[in-house]
Amino acid sequence: MTPKFNHYLSIALLFFSLLFINACKNPTDGLIVTVNSDLSENNYGFIVANANPDVEEVPQDLNIKIVGPDADYVLSSDGTKNFEATSGLFSLILKPGVTPSESNPIKFTIMIESNGFLKSITPIEISNEGNESFTIYMVKASALPEGVAMKEQTIALPANGELEETTVIEVPMTNGKQETAIIEIPKGTKMLDADGNVITGSIYASVVHFDNRSEESLNSFPGGFTATNLVDKDGNAMEPVVFETAGFISIEMSNGTQSVKSFSNPIEVTMEINDETFNPENETNIKEGDSIPTWSLDTKTGQWTMEDVAVVVKNPSTNKLETVFPITHLSYWNLGFKYNTCPKNGSVVTFKSSTETEGYRYIEVRNAKTKAFISSKNLNVINNRSFQFNFAHKRKDVLIRVYSGKNKKNKGDLITESGSFKMCGSSQTITIPDPVKPPTIVNIEISGKCQVGGRVLRPSFFVYFKEKGKDSYGILGYLKNGRLTTDRFEIGKTYIFATVYSGKLYEYEQTVQQNDYTEVVIELPLGTPGCK
């Protein structure tokens, strides 16, 4: 081998090798770390709405507390215990690893206070895994819904705290309400705070009476009619029941610094009764001589106590049915029959639909015989989605109405109505008919790009929406790891989308002009959880 040959060979090899080395890319060029954010399998979206559908005002500055046996498992969607809402929207999750089941349901109570609104107490019992949405109706004192009336009165208490004259507070028959409620506080009664201290001075009393005729009134029933946390007057736990209310009242009294909790002597409540109230014990309408239980609600724990049984009498002067019963403390008081429930084998309702798209619809459960309203809910009616009645009336026949709208205020059109079925032990299939105009299916895919590090987050949260300038927020669906498909949009319309995270409202306006929004990338600010 000549030196010249060696020289050329070497140069050629070196040149070739350098070309080869430089032709290769860095293996990690363009690699993006993408992180899902579905921390929990159990996500709950809440809308706090005004019980009066004619009033746009949404409860603001909500003070939310979660209490109850399983409150420790409940977190805000950001993983903290800071329960904050904006525009009436908030969402909760169960701690990862907590698995609710029929044998091990998760029980907690949501207490909400907002200036100008009656305190809301909503017991929640979760016995299945998955995502759910809830609407909590709050009653604004200055804009009461139909079937609800309020009487405000000032009572003067002298230095010794003894009431000098018998005081009567009568809630009038206004706002469509056809019955009255009367509170009578006997002379000499002392009012006591939660620590038993005698309260003196000028007492502001507020009594709100709810009838059992109006849907808005019934929607305002604290926590809904299924009660799972209840005791008898001796404090013994009772089996879950479903109330058939004959009316309920909320009584609050305060001198501005101390709230009245109890009285030195019982005070008397007289409640007139709708004579069409159904008595499940004898399965006829209520009549003179019937007995009806009285219940009080502990507004700190959401626990109902069966206090006594009142006898129905006919008032000769008004010719109306009424009951008179004593109360010793202030809270919500319910005059209600109780149905025994089927805690384990509530009927299963399955939706059949030609679309495979998530779609929350406004659903009503009504008495199959009387068509009377029982409850409402927003449910996802995607094909084959099932739900089961929990703690349902053992004997009650019901039917379900499915509306095209997203909430009570915007029911939309009646899509379908089921046949009559028992709430326990049966299964019911409800076929959602195809709409006349095929729905527009819109796919949404959102990524959040962290400002530093190039990391991408796929967000998971409940998305709320409303048509711009028209109505209040409804549930659009649960955006799971950045993806959501919906049939709720009409091409060409402008919508406002919203979600609440760590108490902050994020709103986004979009005119829907296409079926796919799969490349939506939002810039996430520094400090966003998951970007750190």
């Binding site: 081998m1 060696n6 020289h7 080395i21």
Partner: protein, 239 residues
Amino acid sequence: MNKIFATIALLFMVILSQAQSNPLLDSVRIISKGSPPKPIKYAKWGLGVQFSTNGLGLQIARSIHPKNKLIVKLGGNYLPIKVQDHIIDFSGTKTVSNIAINLGAMGAYLDWRPFGNAFKLTGGCAYIFSNISGNSALMDSIDQGEIRLEPEKVGVINYGIKTRPIAPFVAFGFGRAIPKRRVGFGFELGTYYIGPPKVSFKCTGLLEPTSENEALLNENLKGYQWLPVLNLNLTIKLK
């Protein structure tokens, strides 16, 4: 860094190859003054131990040419490397990795000494053992509010790189597979053509969508179709 190292190594090779004109190294023939050249007896078999960037190995060589210009070799090398609990800090986020690197190949090769001296060109074909597999995860849990996300929940990145199993091999080098004396030394610089490596990249937990990078990684590694090898051989003449 790797590129700089490779460039220096190649420069070193060039310098070394220039040195091959040194008659001391070009000692295929023994010159004896005043007497006719004595016929050289070429051994037919050789055995070698290989210290390679592709592992440690053995080879057996058999000459198929009267002057040992063509030698068939069968050999293999293997080196498993395990990296356990290797901690890497990514901008304050510590990850722990476990990586298994298997180096190796087994094949048949042909050495050709075109000039009869120590310079040789080698070609062959081998079954490639080399592959990399590993996994990485966060070292510590992450707290989000009251939720503690354990590293397993955040996710594990499982990765692997494989090549096509059969790969042709070319090299050049110096030194004989069947040494002239009892013991010889040589080296080869060559490369296997392994084709585009196949990357598997699967993430679990919250990192699951990061798996979508698998196609990107395969694209990025598409250019890495050659596996360069440096072999240092210690050879023994058998007979």
